[in-house]
C-alpha cells in the first residue's frame, strides 16, 4: 500500500498506468450503460402508480449516487494531498469537481422533470432534491475557490480544505434536510426507496449505476492524464512524448 502511494508520487508512472487502464473502463462504461439503457427503457416493467415516467429512475439514481461519491472522492484526494503531498491526487480532484457538478445537475434536472407527472409541479422542496441543490452549491464553491487563487499550490490546498469541510457537512446536511422535510410534509411520497422493487426493476438500475461509475473513472483517468501533461510540460518525458506522437 505504501509502495503504491510512493509510486503515485511520479506523475509519469500514473500517466503510463492510466493509459493501460483507460480502455478497460471505457469499454465497461459503454457496455454497461448501453445494456442498462436498453433494459431499463424497453424491457423493465412500468411502475404501477407512476407509469413509464418511472424509467427516469435509471438516470436519476446513478447520477445522484455519482454526485455524492465524487464529492467524497474529492475530499479523500484532498486529504491524501494535504498529508502526503502527492500532486497526482490533487490533479484528479481538480478534474473530478466539474464532473461531479454535472452529475448533480443531471440528478436535479431528471428529478425535477420526474416531478411534473408525479407531483404536477416542476420543483418540489423534497428532501432529496433540496439536498442535491445544496450539494450543487458545494461543488460550485470548490470549483470557484480553486479558480480564485493565483498560486496553484495555494489553490490546491484551499480546495482540499474546503472539500474536507464540505464532506463532513454532507451527512449533517442530509440528515437535517430529511428531518426538515418530514416535519413539514407529513405525507411523504419518496420517488425512490420503495420497500420492494422487483428484480426486473432494480437489476437494470444496478447495471446503470456500475456503468456510470465506470464512466466516471474513465473520464477522470483521461482528464488527469491531460492535466499531468499540462502541469509537467517542462519535463523531459513529456517533451519526448510529444515528439513521439507526431
Amino acid at each position: 500500500m505504501w509502495a503504491f502511494i510512493n509510486k503515485l508520487r511520479s506523475p509519469k508512472w500514473f500517466y503510463a498506468i492510466g493509459a493501460r487502464l483507460q480502455p478497460f473502463f471505457w469499454l465497461a462504461a459503454v457496455v454497461l450503460i448501453l445494456v442498462g439503457t436498453v433494459w431499463g427503457l424497453a424491457f423493465a416493467p412500468a411502475d404501477y402508480q407512476q407509469g413509464n415516467s418511472f424509467r427516469i429512475i435509471y438516470v436519476h439514481v446513478p447520477a445522484a449516487f455519482l454526485a455524492q461519491s465524487i464529492f467524497v472522492s474529492m475530499a479523500v484526494c484532498g486529504l491524501v494531498f494535504m498529508v502526503w503531498k502527492i500532486k497526482v491526487v490533487d490533479m484528479a480532484a481538480a478534474m473530478m469537481a466539474p464532473l461531479g457538478a454535472a452529475m448533480t445537475f443531471v440528478s436535479l434536472f431528471s428529478g425535477a422533470v420526474w416531478g411534473v407527472p408525479t407531483w404536477g409541479t416542476w420543483w418540489m422542496w423534497d428532501a432529496r432534491l433540496t439536498s442535491m441543490l445544496i450539494l450543487l452549491f458545494l461543488y460550485l464553491g470548490v470549483i470557484a475557490l480553486r479558480g480564485a487563487f493565483s498560486s496553484r499550490d495555494s489553490a490546491s490546498r484551499a480546495a482540499s480544505v474546503l472539500a474536507m469541510v464540505g464532506v463532513i457537512n454532507i451527512p449533517i446536511i442530509k440528515y437535517s434536510v430529511d428531518w426538515w422535510y418530514t416535519l413539514h410534509q407529513p405525507a411523504t411520497f419518496t420517488i425512490t426507496g420503495r420497500a420492494a422493487m422487483p428484480m426486473e426493476m432494480w437489476a437494470p438500475l444496478l447495471i446503470m449505476v456500475m456503468g456510470f461509475y465506470s464512466f466516471f473513472i474513465a473520464v477522470t483517468l483521461m482528464r488527469t492524464r491531460s492535466e499531468i501533461l499540462r502541469r509537467e510540460s517542462n519535463k523531459r518525458w513529456v517533451r519526448d512524448l510529444a515528439t513521439e506522437e507526431r
Partner: protein, 79 residues
C-alpha cells in the same frame, strides 16, 4: 418487452416528454463530457508539439536560446 410496438415505446404511455427530456439531457451531457475531455487532450498535445518544434528550431531548448541572445547582446555592446 414492456411495449407492444415501437410507436408505443416512443410515446412512453403519455410520459414521452418527461422520459425523453431526462434521458436526452443526461445522454447529451455524458457525450459532451467525453468530447470535451478528448478535445482538451488533443489541444494540449498540439500545443506541446508546437512548443517542442519551436524550441528545436531555435536550438536545443532554453540553454541555446540564452546563449544566442547573450551573443547578440554582446555584439551590440561592442559597437
Amino acid at each position: 418487452m414492456a411495449f407492444e410496438s415501437l410507436h408505443e415505446f416512443f410515446a412512453m404511455g403519455g410520459h414521452a416528454p418527461y422520459v425523453w427530456a431526462a434521458w436526452g439531457v443526461t445522454a447529451g451531457l455524458l457525450i459532451a463530457i467525453v468530447l470535451h475531455a478528448r478535445a482538451e487532450r488533443r489541444l494540449l498535445m498540439r500545443n506541446l508539439q508546437r512548443r517542442v518544434r519551436r524550441e528545436e528550431r531555435l536550438g536545443t531548448g532554453q540553454g541555446e536560446m540564452a546563449e544566442i541572445s547573450h551573443q547578440v547582446g554582446g555584439n551590440h555592446h561592442d559597437s
